[in-house]
């Protein structure tokens, strides 16, 4: 953990109301502008970690900070949407407005931007994801890849310094996946990507965190850990084809 750290967790734990432990004593630090992947089997706690980091799930103060803000502190939580952007697993959960432009403007307007400022941010964000002409389209009628990029635009319009991406390549065809990888690579800021797509991890993230049953099982260079057959096998994963000997 250094003074450059953008995202820090310190003995982070989370237990659901039914007693299930979703996160158990997780500590790591991510430097500003670093791109890190979180991999692990289903139910490892990846989505719970994201929900804790963005303040949707309540927790104890002092267990996590993002750009100096603690998601468990109510005063900090109000400022959090300007600092951290979350792209959820299913874009249909995120695209809730009647048009793409209204959806992308949702965050900036909530943050107090004027309609003119919000429109400028919509244009900028849609351009960043290659959907400059899609503002008046209806989210329901977008393709899977377009929905994913529109959801990403909605988060980018808030200009967060930290991006949390939950299964960004899920349900995408190869072309949509390639386009998304290009878009994510070009994005500035700190990125934390939870995914089962290990090839995407190899393409984008020099560092990987392996999460299993709520515990941090490994944290280090992607190529080293993803090539470790025993580690991958132990945690319900497989060595990606590119790294197989």
């Amino acid at each position: 953990m250094t003074h450059h750290s953008s995202l820090v967790t310190h003995h982070l734990s989370h237990r659901y109301a039914d007693g299930r432990v979703a996160l158990d004593d997780i500590s790591f630090a991510i430097e500003a502008n670093e791109c890190v992947a979180i991999v692990g089997p289903n139910g490892a706690g990846k989505t719970t970690l994201f929900l804790r980091l963005c303040g949707v799930l309540a927790g104890k103060p002092g267990q996590a900070t993002i750009s100096g803000l603690d998601p468990a502190v109510p005063e900090h939580r109000k400022k959090l949407p300007e600092v951290v952007g979350v792209v959820f697993q299913n874009p249909d959960d995120q695209l809730f407005s009647p048009t793409v432009a209204e959806d992308v403007a949702f965050g900036p307007l909530n943050m107090g931007a004027t309609p003119d400022e919000a429109k400028a941010r919509v244009t900028e964000a849609l351009q960043a994801v290659g959907m400059a002409d899609a503002g008046e389209r209806v989210p329901f009628q977008l393709s899977g890849g377009e929905k994913r990029r529109a959801a990403l635009a909605g988060v980018l319009a808030m200009r967060p310094s930290v991006l949390l991406l939950d299964e960004p390549s899920m349900f995408l065809d190869p072309r949509g996946r390639r386009e998304l990888i290009t878009v994510i690579r070009a994005l500035p800021g700190t990125k934390l990507i939870a995914t089962h797509d290990l090839d995407l991890v190899l393409d984008l993230c020099p560092r990987v965190l392996v999460l299993d049953a709520g515990k941090l099982a490994a944290d280090g260079p992607t190529e080293k850990y993803l090539a470790d057959v025993q580690l991958m096998w132990r945690h319900g994963l497989e060595v990606p084809f590119r790294l197989r000997k």
Binding site: C54, F88, N90, P98, E102, N110
Partner: protein, 253 residues
């Protein structure tokens, strides 16, 4: 069952260009006025007014007809029942007596129902729904109500899609809807699955909204600008409605 939810483009017309706030206020007053009409003649004129506005709106004929048919269907029972149930002078056809008063009252209800349908289609068809709802917010409709309506509209598409997928999944496993115990059970399970998925989705959407700073306040990009023609159109519609109500109340029909 086929649920065809599709976003439709709005045809260019004087009614589409009418500021949504003035249009909404005018149409709501017109609906209130028409609902208060008792006599057949003013109700028939109100229907003629509604139909004329629909023609002016240049909405696709098939779209208008299919929806007006539903309004007609809802109003039809009054036209069919009242002539046989209200007392008064009339005509005897065999053992059946048709009351003139009932026929006129039924006709008035039928015309009123269709006229209200015309104004409703006008609102829905001549501006995107989110624009009309943003206008409603400007007219002091609570933001939370507007937001909830928008979410319901947005997720109706998704729900329809999920129902379609569920129906296909059931049919691929040989399910055919029959009035049997098994049929009702399967239908109950499918409905339950849709409700559970809906509740889960509501949680996810709420999380996504909170992550983007939602605090219950409704915001929109929609902007409105009042021109002289907007006010004149509003005044004309309100004056026409007031004239119909006066005609109805003064008993000139």
């Amino acid at each position: 069952m086929t649920l065809a939810f599709r976003h439709r483009s709005v045809p260019n017309s004087p009614l589409a260009r009418w500021d949504a706030r003035w249009k909404l206020a005018g149409a709501m007053l017109a609906v209130g006025g028409v609902a208060a009409l008792d006599h057949l003649a003013p109700a028939a004129v109100a229907l003629a007014l509604g139909l004329s506005l629909l023609v002016l709106s240049r909405l696709p004929g098939a779209w208008v007809r299919s929806r007006l048919f539903l309004f007609a269907l809802a109003s039809l029972p009054f036209l069919l029942v009242l002539p046989f149930t209200l007392e008064g002078d009339g005509w005897d056809i065999g053992p059946v007596k048709i009351s003139e008063r009932g026929l006129i009252a039924g006709g008035a209800v039928f015309c009123r129902g269709l006229a209200i349908g015309c104004f409703a289609l006008l609102l829905v068809g001549t501006a995107p729904l989110h624009h009309t709802l943003a206008a409603a917010h400007k007219l002091k409709v609570p933001g939370l109500l507007v937001q909830l309506t928008l979410l319901a509209y947005r997720y109706a598409f998704l729900l329809a899609d999920e129902m379609r997928r569920l129906r296909v999944a059931m049919r691929t496993r040989g399910f055919q809807l029959r009035a049997t115990r098994h049929g009702y059970r399967a239908l109950g399970h499918a409905t339950g699955a849709i409700l559970v998925r809906g509740a889960e989705r509501a949680d996810h959407v709420a999380a996504a909204m909170r992550c983007r700073g939602f605090d219950g306040t409704f915001h929109t990009l929609a902007r409105f600008r009042t021109r002289a023609t907007d006010i004149i159109s509003f005044a004309a519609l309100v004056a026409a409605t007031a004239a119909l109500v006066l005609w109805d109340r003064l008993g000139l029909s």
